[in-house]
């Protein structure tokens, strides 16, 4: 892909400066821009949303001249499956390879008050003075089991600066479908003996992940059996690509290097531009529908027509630009 011209800017010069400047820092792989980027992307103030659009434009494929180079990895699994321990081990392994890592930890919020307790970062073991690691806890927002707009946008933006961007979500079943719309590689974490994932896989409630991780391999027989059952289920579903990897964080740790390699292999075999393009279009449609509802979709002639319109737009355009295009179309 050749370098595209700078996309048109939505507003006057002095208002642009904040979002565009943060975007430019990310593009220059300045990792210290990450907190500012998140603070802006999470904001719902209308002027901040304009700045967010400016930020995303700066890190769009059109402006980068390619897809953002970072590997976006979705890691999802039920509570207690050992995700935090696994993430600590992965973090260590990636840092040893010299890769910078951003983690977006999505916690379920309290429905009643809207408040949330974001406790995950305390469970992830990392060096607070290491500038190559960024961890941000975010609440899931208003959609059940979903990702907030900010998390999806942040994953795309941070992939311009960080080598690896992890989105960690809690749940199993429907929860990972939203992650699948933004991640390059999906790993589902299962603890030995829990039959849920197996059932969900067989019954088709759950999409087949790219990698399945069985934690607590130190438990011995039960871990071996879980791994065998999952492999058998995958074979019967005709999936040969999905690797099932057993990991243990107890000393001596095992399986982590294998997992890192499996994630990397998946990424290398992936048609990245296609997957990212699909992700952006899916995100744009979801955002549009959330904002304008069924009425907005019918103004475009229905969901299928909207998808067709998106398919005809610039493949290098970022999500806000795609949404804006749909909105213009609906207004005409």
């Amino acid at each position: 892909m050749s370098r595209a011209p700078r996309p048109p800017q939505p507003a006057g010069p002095e208002i642009d400066v904040v979002g565009a400047a943060i975007g430019a820092r990310l593009r220059a792989r300045d990792l210290s821009a990450a907190p500012d980027a998140l603070n802006l992307l999470e904001s719902t103030v209308p002027t901040d949303r304009e700045q967010s659009a400016a930020l995303l434009a700066e890190v769009s494929p059109a402006w980068l001249g390619q897809e953002a180079p970072g590997h976006i990895v979705g890691i999802t699994g039920p509570p207690g499956a050992g995700k935090s321990t696994l993430l600590s081990a992965l973090l260590r392994a990636w840092r040893q390879e010299g890769l910078s890592v951003a983690m977006l930890a999505v916690d379920p919020s309290s429905r009643r008050s809207g408040g949330s307790l974001l406790g995950d970062r305390a469970r992830i073991d990392f060096d607070p003075t290491d500038a190559g690691v960024f961890i941000r806890s975010t609440s899931a927002g208003t959609q059940l089991g979903g990702l907030s707009w900010a998390t999806r946008a942040a994953a795309q933006a941070l992939a311009a600066a960080f080598d690896v961007v992890v989105i960690e979500t809690v749940g199993v079943g429907q929860a990972e479908t939203d992650v699948a719309d933004v991640a390059d590689t999906i790993a589902v974490v299962v603890q030995p003996g829990s039959g849920d994932v197996l059932q969900f896989l067989k019954s088709g409630i759950m999409e087949i992940p790219d990698v399945l991780v069985v934690t607590k391999a130190d438990l011995g027989q039960v871990a071996v059996r879980t791994r065998r059952d999952l492999s058998a289920a995958l074979r019967s579903l005709g999936s040969r690509a999905t690797q099932v990897i057993a990991v243990s964080s107890l000393s001596p740790p095992q399986g982590v290097e294998e997992l890192v390699a499996a994630l990397q292999t998946h990424r290398e075999q992936l048609d990245l531009p296609q997957r990212r393009l699909h992700a952006r279009r899916a995100s744009a449609l979801a955002d549009y529908a959330r904002e304008h509802g069924e009425r907005g979709l019918s103004a475009l002639g229905g969901r299928r027509a909207a998808q067709a319109m998106l398919a005809a737009l610039d493949p290098g355009a970022d999500v806000p630009a795609l949404v804006a295009a749909l909105e213009r179309r609906a207004a005409n």
């Binding site: 719902t44 809207g114 307790l117 607070p128 003075t129």
Partner: protein, 692 residues
């Protein structure tokens, strides 16, 4: 009455309701230690002269968590809540002139209990006293550290192995030692109801005994069971509290007979020491704490069948800061009046035959058995730590809400609050002990000198051997399969003799066992209903969120080594219930960790909690780290902060300080929201200037 139940009293004649001979009083102790081994030794000797009959050693937090005074994490904590003991030289100085063959010493030490017992054994050796004759107790209860107190060092499996090794060692070599004190004390401090206190303590004992059973010959189990003692709490509802202790005695005997096949009545006896409740002591009108302490002491002394073996009482001013020797003397005198002036030691059990007491006990037993079954369903006490922690956070929140609403009366705090000025706190020191900040620097010099003067090769050899033995069992993480592997006490005692330090011993084990963080419990806490005050607060939080562009976000954490996290947890849960995003970081954070989290998480405000007295050093260090990281968010501080320290903290940049007298958590969260709203208003009016 004699027809339906056997009479257990010691008298022959029912018309004479007295014991033939007055009972001997319980062991009287004062939980003490601060600054240095030498200063603490002087304090101990004076306390013994005053009629105290045993010692209770308070260690400082670095010693409790396995760090030397010159470790980064020890900053601000050296000599604060107890005495630093880093090597055998410190232990010898601490026990100088105290005959260890005769003394009965209780040590509040858990994660590093094996190490401190080793130092004690070596100190006795140096006095020419054999370990065979040593008497005392190491607290050594790690499950409650995960649940309530926070001074753990290793994960559950290696911690249990250390405990089991210690028990196996002492049963054989230090036969008069109580190697573990199962603590229900701290559970009550963390908000446990009497039923929870009984159930969790008993479940904890089961976990320990099951682990030991794998490491000692079956025929020793009776002796092992007999060496397990308890450390309990007693609150001001002293009738129910007494019933609780009777219930524990019954459950304990049952457990011994049924689960461990113990039959010797001597081994089956429920033995406990006590420190009465600190949670209920108030900062407001602190003199009222004296009568609370007296009534609580009655709970554990009134009935002969469930009387404490040893007692230590808190001081009237513990909610204000560290008690001075005079404050502690007052508490010792309470014990002495009770034992030597009143007649409670002259009678057999005065509740024998009381229908009310029996019914109370039966009620508690029923509740405790049900709760023990829940813990067992979770896979036992170790596996159930997250469940129990969540239940404690919930119970504590309910207690606070009862006090906030006035449903539960706390005299001088939420009722009868009119007061005259107190002459007790009028002195320049505010009525508390202030540890000289120079102590830390002295201890750092001292330990460096110690390291440079010892035989380094001998220390290295000893630590290598310690690591080798530690690695033997942790390869599988399963103590059960390694019953015949070498006991960790052996290389631990060798390292103590060689002159290794507390930090070196713990580091060698951390390298083998790995690091560990206990669950925080706040994630499991149930959401509150949004009635009344909280509903109004939620509206304000929502409005603030509109203005800020995202939900108000608070970081709550505890710098330093202090593990008392109840206050921080309650703030975190209430802020969540009010609709805020809460990043709860838990305990033992360095300033660098707090600064990195605040920056990365983009929080609007930072709440820090410290109860160990290290706030004067740590809070300014955290604020410096925050500002260096480019975080300008306001910092609020809660904890045991004496009045005279508030102004210096404000000067260092703290926006607000909260102490135990601010018991209304909703009000604190409301204050924080108001602070953020004022800041948002300010930056809005500033905004045009920055854009232009």
């Amino acid at each position: 009455m004699g027809a339906t139940r056997p009479y257990n009293g010691c008298m022959d004649d029912i018309r004479n309701p007295r014991l033939p001979e007055r009972d001997r009083p319980w062991m009287m102790r004062t939980y003490a230690g601060h600054s240095t081994a030498k200063a603490s030794n002087e304090l101990y000797r004076r306390n013994l002269q005053k009629g105290q009959t045993g010692l209770s050693v308070a260690f400082d937090l670095p010693t409790q968590t396995g760090y030397d005074p010159d470790d980064e994490l020890a900053r601000g904590e050296v000599g604060k809540v107890g005495v630093p003991v880093s090597h055998r030289g410190d232990m010898a100085a601490l026990m100088d002139g105290i005959p260890l063959g005769e003394m009965n010493t209780s040590m509040t030490i858990n994660a590093t209990a094996a190490w401190l017992l080793a130092l004690y054994i070596v100190a006795a050796e140096e006095q020419g006293v054999s370990e065979k004759s040593l008497q005392g107790t190491t607290q050594n209860d790690i499950v409650k550290e995960f649940l309530a107190r926070g001074t753990y060092a290793f994960g559950p499996a290696p911690s249990l192995r250390l405990i089991a090794d210690m028990i196996a060692y002492t049963v054989e070599h230090v036969p008069k030692w109580n190697p573990i004190n199962i603590c229900s004390y701290h559970l009550q401090e963390a908000g446990a109801t009497p039923v929870q206190e009984i159930a969790y303590a008993m479940s904890n004992a089961i976990a320990v005994l099951d682990a030991v059973r794998e490491r000692v010959p079956e025929q020793l189990m009776g002796q092992v069971f007999g060496r397990i003692s308890f450390f309990v709490n007693a609150g001001v509802r002293f009738v129910e509290e007494h019933a609780k202790l009777r219930a524990m005695g019954i459950l304990w005997e049952e457990l011994g007979r049924e689960r461990y096949g113990v039959s010797d009545p001597k081994h089956l006896r429920f033995r406990y020491g006590v420190q009465v409740n600190s949670l209920g002591l108030t900062e407001a009108q602190p003199e009222n704490n004296v009568q609370r302490i007296v009534l609580e002491a009655l709970a554990v002394t009134l009935g002969r069948d469930a009387r404490a073996r040893a007692m230590q009482l808190p001081a009237w001013n513990e909610a204000l800061g560290l008690p001075r020797p005079w404050d502690q003397q007052w508490s010792l005198r309470i014990q002495q009046v009770l034992a030597y002036e009143t007649d409670i030691l002259e009678y057999p059990d005065i509740f024998e035959g009381s229908h009310v007491m029996d019914a109370l006990v039966a009620e508690l037993l029923e509740g405790a058995r049900a709760e023990m079954a829940v813990v067992a369903e979770h896979g036992g006490a170790v596996e159930a730590v997250p469940y129990m922690k969540g239940a404690l956070v919930d119970a504590h929140r309910e207690r606070i809400q009862r006090i906030e609403s006035g449903e539960q009366t706390v005299v001088g705090q939420n009722r009868f609050t009119e007061t005259e000025d107190s002459p007790l706190t009028a002195d320049g020191d505010g009525g508390i002990l202030v540890v000289d900040p120079a102590v830390e620097a002295e201890q750092i010099d001292a330990i460096r000198r110690w390291r440079s003067e010892r035989d380094q090769a001998a220390v290295d050899t000893a630590l290598t051997e310690l690591a080798r033995v530690a690695a033997l069992a942790s390869a599988t993480g399963d103590a059960a399969e390694n019953a015949d592997t070498e006991n960790l006490m052996i290389p631990t005692i060798a390292a103590a003799r060689a002159g290794a330090t507390t930090g070196e011993w713990a580091r060698a084990l951390r390298e083998v066992f790995g690091s560990y963080r206990a669950p925080t419990g706040v994630g499991e806490a149930a959401p509150a209903s949004g009635d009344g005050e909280l509903g109004e607060l939620r509206d304000r939080v929502a409005a603030l969120g509109e203005r800020l562009g995202r939900r108000p976000k608070i970081l709550v954490g505890k710098p330093g080594l202090d593990g008392h996290s109840n206050g921080a947890e309650q703030i975190a849960v209430r802020a969540r219930d009010a609709g805020m995003d809460v990043v709860y970081e838990g305990i033992r954070l360095t300033p660098a960790q707090i600064a990195a989290s605040a920056r990365q998480e983009g929080v609007h405000v930072i709440g820090l909690s410290i109860l160990s007295g290290s706030h004067r050093e740590l809070i300014p260090a955290v604020i410096d780290a925050l500002r260096d990281a480019g975080v300008s968010a306001p910092v609020i501080v809660g904890g045991i902060i004496p009045d005279q320290d508030v102004a210096p903290l404000r000067a260092a940049g703290v926006a607000a300080v909260y102490t135990p007298k601010d018991f209304d958590i909703t009000e604190i969260v409301s204050d924080i929201v108001a602070l953020l709203a004022a800041d948002a208003e300010q930056s809005r009016s500033d905004a045009p200037a920055t854009v232009a």
